[in-house]
Amino acid sequence: METLLLDLPVATLLAATPLLLAALGGLCSERGGVVNIALEGLILAGAFAGATFTLATGSPGVGLAAGVLTGALLGLFHGVVCIHLRADHVISGLAVNLLADAATILLLKEIWGTKGGSPQLGTGTLGGIGPLPSLTWVAFLLLPLVWWLVYRTRWGLRLRACGESPEAADAVGIPVHRYRLSGVVLSGVLAGLAGVYLAMSAGSFTKHMAAGRGYIALAALVFGRWRPGPVAAGCLLFALGQGLQDTFELRVAIPPQLTAMVPYALTLLVLAAGPLLRRGRPETSAPPAALGRPWIRS
């Protein structure tokens, strides 16, 4: 029981890392007005590219760069489909997720000739500082950075304007499409990083390895009302479910199928608790007003 109490915080921080990275990415995308259901697929694609290029070059650094770049490119694709082709953001996001799922399985067969996963990456690809892997530190350093970027820079102000009222943003001369696209591409970078972390911490790429983390990150974004601090709190809360699963599975004789349900059930319960507790009182903050709405200059 003692080790359980010691291990739980670390397990939670580890589980929070990909969630936080993806959720901060989602924040950049959605604050600009583009719904990002595609986070799941961006994570998966980042994980695959990260693992593949690490294996091919033997350098985790190249793998990391490839994962981030792949996330950015797929994010760009989602952005162009939503912004320029004016597709429904949710449908485009789903398509990106199905695409990433099918393409990674296809490429696994083509490149490694395997069905379920890539060869092992070897140990130590992540590198650690203290008890935590380096990317966990990066994720928590990115939290204030993203806050600063969104609230304290000209880019952030303009991005938020595009998410709240693209008409007003356009009227003062902000290139709405370009700002929205930059937000989505940034979400691809961060979700790709989340994928690289997943693959490297697991030691290989396995199919479906995002396992709903993109959607849980999205839930954290809703839970935190699109504000960095509360969103990070949501990530930690949802990661607690995963942390509990990881620590319990090793020690207590609970069927693994039951513990595997914890992260998803916890996310749903927390999401439901918010509105239930708030009943009758007005919401403290609203989602970006133009979220999901295509903008066409009239």
């Binding site: 489909v81 695409l99 296809l106 069927p255 509105p275």
Partner: protein, 348 residues
């Protein structure tokens, strides 16, 4: 009539364009598209057995396509058809295993009732969360998908339930009397396929000729106007998702009764997700869904042959599904007038 003709024309364009893009991708990968297309067609229609497999393969897709299309009409994305179907199939398999004492005339309805109850309840959770608490149905249904897979896996192995007898992860085999057969043996035209087509016709009637159908479409068309007209959004949201869940449940039931004869873990190659592509290609019209289901059934069935003959992995066909989804989504908005500023959109 004109509207349906136009959407049928669009659907054909989208399907053709997706196939052309896929052929282009194959060409870029150094394969011969013509050779593969022939392999695909031979795989889907080449022999009596191939044709039977294609027809049988359309059955679950009609159900999951409808399960997505009907909530879509109310403005809701039922991404949860996969989980609703899996859990419903488990319910049918479990009841079938527990009530073996019942005569087949009673056991078959009992299995069907279990599947329908489980499927609609599971979708109803999302309906409640969306309608009453405002939690986006995409997030809710997707989380419920993950929960459903793990819950079914847990219950299958739970000791008190006595479902796992052998080494294989499946429930005990159902007696032959409750298996759904084919109407003409060896043709692939099963009772369930006929039922699916009739159900699609019924759904068309429900959507376009009844009051609940009108309420559902009104909510999807303009939520504020619908509410002003006295429609209760939470109730219609719940109704449409419960209907979706029941339809997804039928896909699960068909897999248990007509294909595997028991609940088999991992039986679904993603019928629920293909249902999204089916619904979109079918323009969210029940009869359109039937045609779209056959299109994807041909692709799936032909993909087996492509895999075997030319070594093109089956996942290639899933890329065609993705292209269809993207093309419909992008096209839908191109052919529509520019959305006005006050179009109601909820955040996720």
């Amino acid at each position: 009539m004109r509207e349906s003709l136009r959407s049928a024309g669009h659907a054909l364009q989208v399907a053709a364009l997706a196939l052309i893009l896929f052929a282009g991708a194959l060409l870029a990968a150094g394969e011969s598209p013509l050779h593969l297309l022939l392999a695909l067609l031979r795989g889907a229609f080449g022999s009596r057995a191939d044709l039977a497999r294609t027809l049988a393969g359309a059955t679950p897709l009609i159900f999951t396509g409808l399960a997505v299309a009907i909530p879509f009409r109310a403005g809701l994305f039922n991404i949860g058809a996969e989980g609703q179907m899996i859990l419903a199939a488990f319910g049918a398999g479990a009841v079938g295993a527990w009530c073996t004492g019942l005569p087949p005339v009673l056991l078959l309805p009992a299995c069907a009732a279990a599947a329908l109850a489980v499927g609609s309840l599971w979708a109803g959770i999302a309906g409640f969360l969306r309608g009453r608490l405002g939690i986006h149905e995409v997030i809710a249904t997707i989380l419920l998908n993950f929960l459903a897979v793990h819950l079914a896996a847990y219950l299958l192995r739970a000791e008190g339930l006595h479902l796992l007898l052998g080494q294989e992860p499946k429930s005990p085999a159902l007696p032959d009397g409750v298996r759904l057969g084919e109407i003409v043996p060896g043709s692939g035209v099963g009772t369930a396929l006929v039922g699916a087509v009739l159900l699609a016709a019924a759904a068309e009637f429900l959507l376009f000729r009844t009051r609940p159908g009108l309420a559902l479409r009104a909510l999807g068309g303009n939520p504020r106007a619908a509410e002003a007209a006295g429609i209760s959004p939470p109730r219609v949201i719940l109704l449409s998702l419960v209907l979706g869940g029941a339809l997804a449940a039928l896909a699960g039931l068909q897999q248990v009764l007509a294909v595997h004869g028991s609940y088999l873990e991992g039986f679904s190659p993603g019928f629920g997700f293909t249902g999204i592509a089916v619904a979109l290609l079918g323009a969210n019209r029940p009869l359109g869904v039937v045609f779209a289901a056959f299109f994807f059934a041909v692709l799936r069935s032909g993909a087996f042959a492509m895999d075997a003959l030319a070594g093109v992995p089956r996942e290639g066909m899933r890329l065609v599904e993705v292209m269809v989804i993207l093309l419909v989504a992008a096209e839908r908005l191109r052919s529509r007038p520019a959305p006005s500023g006050d179009e109601p959109e909820e955040g996720t």
